[in-house]
Assembly symmetry: D2
Homo-oligomer: 374 residues x 4
């Protein structure tokens, strides 16, 4: 297998996570250290790009991401920039024949997402999205169980992603609250994750009935300042959803979920079984099997550790953390290049999530159910 | 305080619970054994009425509830009959000047409920509804905290009542699935409880956006039979709700909640605090206080035992069960008679719950938000 | 079945619990109200005895328990007095041919317990001890599973009973801290319960290696007083134990278990399965089955509600509380009289618990392992 | 700060973990990629050493660890070999003036441990032990709280480390069951971790009363073979312990803890507060504060994420995993070199743990309490 050389675009918090995760993969899978390399990094300023290169341990850096696309020795680019640049960079990268690994959500809106999915299909490059939560082993197990029909006919589901990051009215504006940068609020930032997990486990969404709201409508323009500016995006989004197969469900997304740091929960209820995941216990999947004798039937807490196929480090019996799931997500992308497979979650998957979010926004504006485009 | 003599109408499962709970009250509060007596019981047949009287230990019984209303020595009647008879009995009881304790939901529909609330007001009798969950001490504590502003401005809430009683398509029809007897399905049977708890803690509902569905539309007319009949009521109800003060929330109600026996949960998120209750741990209330120093801030599990005011039995330090909460609910009714106070939850409260349910049904039929009548 | 007439001796907190529980039994099992009656009550003073009779609703009372033993119409006596009177009353009751229901622990020491077990055997009366925790349905289920070999060969176990009732050094002396009244401290009061549960599930104890300690050695003689008196009994007891079949285990008993109201836990680990019970979730038993496929193996939380054989009240699906377990314990005693069976837990069982506690005290005094007398 | 060059000795499972963790540190703390380097690796065979170097990405490797000690460009060595070589390597490394990072337990026995602690003291090199659990932020917080007197006077504690790795009698012998390689069994392997955590939070142990046992005494010499060999070490160890300050506690250590993958629990009960940690929820610390008003007092679940001082990667709000705690443990070692501080946990700490384990073995052999050497 050829060494994979990556150009990393963006080196804020999440860029650093991706960089660290690439470097961890060889240890997790017993690969040569140089089998996955970050060859160059681009940010928007030369000083930050140089600092990033120093931390990553690569020689090349630039203040223009196009410099990375122009290099022949780069196989893939990794997009860790704000949402409003994903579309431009991805289209340019596809045109340059680079494989693409992109942070979520895919785009600012459905039309951008559609063009991006089309572009990578047309260019024949591998393209994957960072829906890292899928790669907690408990959720990989959940997917396998769903695929095998463990739950039987799904009756209903519930998803939640709560953070409490904005409960204080004194908290100042940030780029996360500006629509032109993010495309959306809690629905985009947190909702994209939980919607992807539900889609991953249950399949296509058909329609949504959503209520979005901005509970604190004005915030200080900077910490401690009296002047305020309007918050342009939702900080809470409540969805009812009907899936293509008729399953009904409910989703709660909030940045005002008092007490929550990252409260990610999902539940599926079916006629043969039920499944629960709670990020508070990241190593466990709860499963309920209706087929069991009723005397000792109950939710079973399965410790889903040691389940990454092929892993070699002896952390198999320990709770995997945030970094481990990122490393796995990125490893699947690298493997898809090596094995010439289609990586998942794909840009088409990302487009579906974008459609759910667009339908939710429309539903909230109109009131009532809205069918997904498609 | 005069001894209170009760006429019990209906002696199915819940009638037996009420009878047992009345008998337990003197022990919980150190009252004379005869301070609360069931003087007579009525069912629809003489044989069952006689058997009930034997079990209760009272001499009088009848196959006609009007016989109880005609007796001068009966102070209060307790209605434990199916929903479709509540209205008739309550109006007759009010006309007879009897105090009334009535099982939930109050009525078959909003107009019945309105007439019942009016009738007891006009007659000047005490009237209380059996929303027994309020009387778990953890929820009494929650109410006190809410009244004191513990949560500050409420951002959002969530409620759930799941049972799994109807997940099997082989399960036959029952009176619980017939609209003419019950008035409604899971929404009425389970939903009335959780809606009341949210109303108790958070106040009036203003509007709902609901989806009701019947997931299994035909069931055998009797166990093991091939012939089926249509299920006339919802078995799942998903609600978004906006309260009078603007708080947004979501409610999940289902008889198809695989794995649940009685999964009753509620959560309130506010800018100063949050509250959680889970019936799986009936003695605990979880509270989160934003005002605490952030180093050791977190959800706190408060053991709400030993909190019934005036209780004497030493079960104060033990988890109260289903029967204890019923006894407390009934004791509040008796106390309201003795103290000439207005008992809670009142018929006006029950009317509000009925209005939420009516709006939810209308919302589901129409699609989109429906304001509550009022 | 003849009506059973009971003479209740002692009407402090626990006497009131027993009285209420007898009265609840007919409702739980559909029996005539008069099938179980408290005919008379005795306390040490006429005024308290009269008040007790008033609350219970019986005509007869006395300040001398012997008056109850002398009555022909009393079938059984129930001993709710302090530990230091159990021996005298039980011997007198056996001599009078009365069946006996006695609060735990059985006696002040092993020799008293031995004489009591002998006395009831010789008299041929039914005699049962109030180890009420056995009668939570989760623990009844645990016993069935153990009897069926669910856990296979037991490797080890753990038990705990923590309360926090004495963590404050300002808390004054009470009769619970005086050896001449109680016979022992936390080991007797709390330990007898958890030792009985382990014995119930696992069988005979063979030897113990225990450490008892009094962590606060002097307490005020009364609340707020400067004068102190020595605490004569243990407030913490740590045991290692070896059972007759070789299983090893550990038990923690403490009145200084900060944060605990009634923290009762037990765990059994075997080569085929494991079992856990936690009183914080009184309706659940956790079970782990090694025989399951390892992909979805895990601790399963079984909701052990609705499991009292023959129960009729519809609280079957609700978490049973403290009172319900007492009612069941007492019902088993009444059934043993009706069916002429041997009730459990018997005085012989109580004697075994007394022997474990005596061995633990000796072990702590000596240091090292002590075999149980036998 | 000079770049730190490390020689890694041993590259089995735990060697790979250490290597990956060193590489992650620059990303967690924003350091240049080359600030921490593994310069050379040694294993016992050239082929495995070469493969390790390839995976690590270093040029130098050897089949003799002495080659690493002889290199001037190596600042520190990291010992990831079996327990029976720690003493020899550490003494040689100290003699060579290398700083030492060593896997737990420190040594085969107390005298080896004593010599190692002496050797690093005399040589003036930094020496740290891998007690990686200390570095979950929840436990760092616990240590701070204990240091501040949060719990007041400690009454008692409990610790547990359960795995289920050896519950099957069919499981074959391994080096973990051979005393000459490991020095001890579950007590050494698992017990050293939990004993260190208790020591970290509570201070010196004074005496132990322990029972060790080998529950399965013979195992197949290899998988599927009929021939068996004796298991030479304990697979369960139950300890009662008294600390230097008088606190009493109990510790359960088992490889036969059915259902457990890594069940690590600790609890401390004091007159002012209590603390709990459970590895199943690695990001949470539970605290109970007696000083709070009793109405809403309870165990509080504090989400201890985002608490590594100086960390830059945005995983601060996510549950840290096994690898993150290792990285932190190693970072503290590197920082101690840079800052010329004494790293913790030190070899003196490791010696104390060795003394507890030696006393426990002696106690089990003799029966009864044994004071620690000192």
């Amino acid at each position: 297998m050829p060494n994979i050389k990556i150009g990393l675009i963006g080196y804020g918090g999440i860029g650093r996570v991706h960089a660290a995760a690439y470097r961890a993969i060889p240890f997790h899978y017993g690969l040569p250290a140089d089998s996955i390399q970050i060859s160059a990094v681009a940010t928007t300023r030369e000083s930050t790009a140089r600092a990033a290169a120093d931390e990553i341990g690569c020689d090349e850096y630039s203040a223009d991401y196009r410099d990375l696309l122009a290099r022949d020795d780069i196989d893939a680019i990794d997009i860790c920039t704000p949402n409003n640049s994903h579309h431009e960079i991805a289209l340019a990268a596809a045109a340059a024949g680079k494989h693409i690994y992109c942070e979520k959500p895919l785009a600012m809106n459905e039309s951008e997402a559609f063009e991006m999915a089309e572009a990578v299909r047309a260019a024949g490059v591998k393209a994957q999205l960072t829906f890292n939560f899928r790669f907690f082993p408990a959720l990989t197990l959940a997917r396998q169980l769903m695929a095998e029909g463990f739950c039987g006919r799904a009756f209903s589901f519930r998803g939640r992603y709560h953070r409490s990051s904005y409960i204080s009215a004194d908290k100042a504006m940030s780029w996360r609250l500006q629509r032109e940068i993010t495309g959306g609020g809690a629905l985009f930032d947190l909702g994209s994750h939980i919607l992807d997990l539900l889609y991953y486990l249950l399949g296509d969404f058909a329609a949504v009935n959503a209520t979005l709201d901005t509970l604190i409508k004005q915030r200080p323009i900077a910490a401690g300042q009296g002047e305020t500016a309007p918050v342009e995006v939702d900080d809470i989004a409540l969805l009812q959803a009907r899936l293509a197969d008729g399953t009904l469900g409910t989703v709660e997304i909030s940045r005002m979920g008092t007490g929550a740091t990252n409260d990610v929960l999902l539940e599926i209820f079916g006629d043969k079984g039920a499944i629960r995941f709670d990020l508070a216990e990241p190593a466990w999947l709860q499963v309920y099997d209706v087929r069991e004798g009723d005397r000792v039937r109950g939710f079973r807490k399965v410790e889903a550790v040691g389940r990454y196929a092929g892993q070699r480090a002896p952390d198999w019996s320990m709770p995997p953390g945030f970094m481990r799931a990122h490393a796995e997500c990125q490893y699947q992308f690298i493997r898809a290049i090596w094995d010439d497979n289609s990586p998942e979650p794909s840009f088409v998957d990302g487009l579906h999530i974008q459609r759910i979010m667009a339908a939710a926004e429309l539903s909230s504006a109109r009131g009532g159910w809205v069918d997904l485009a498609g």
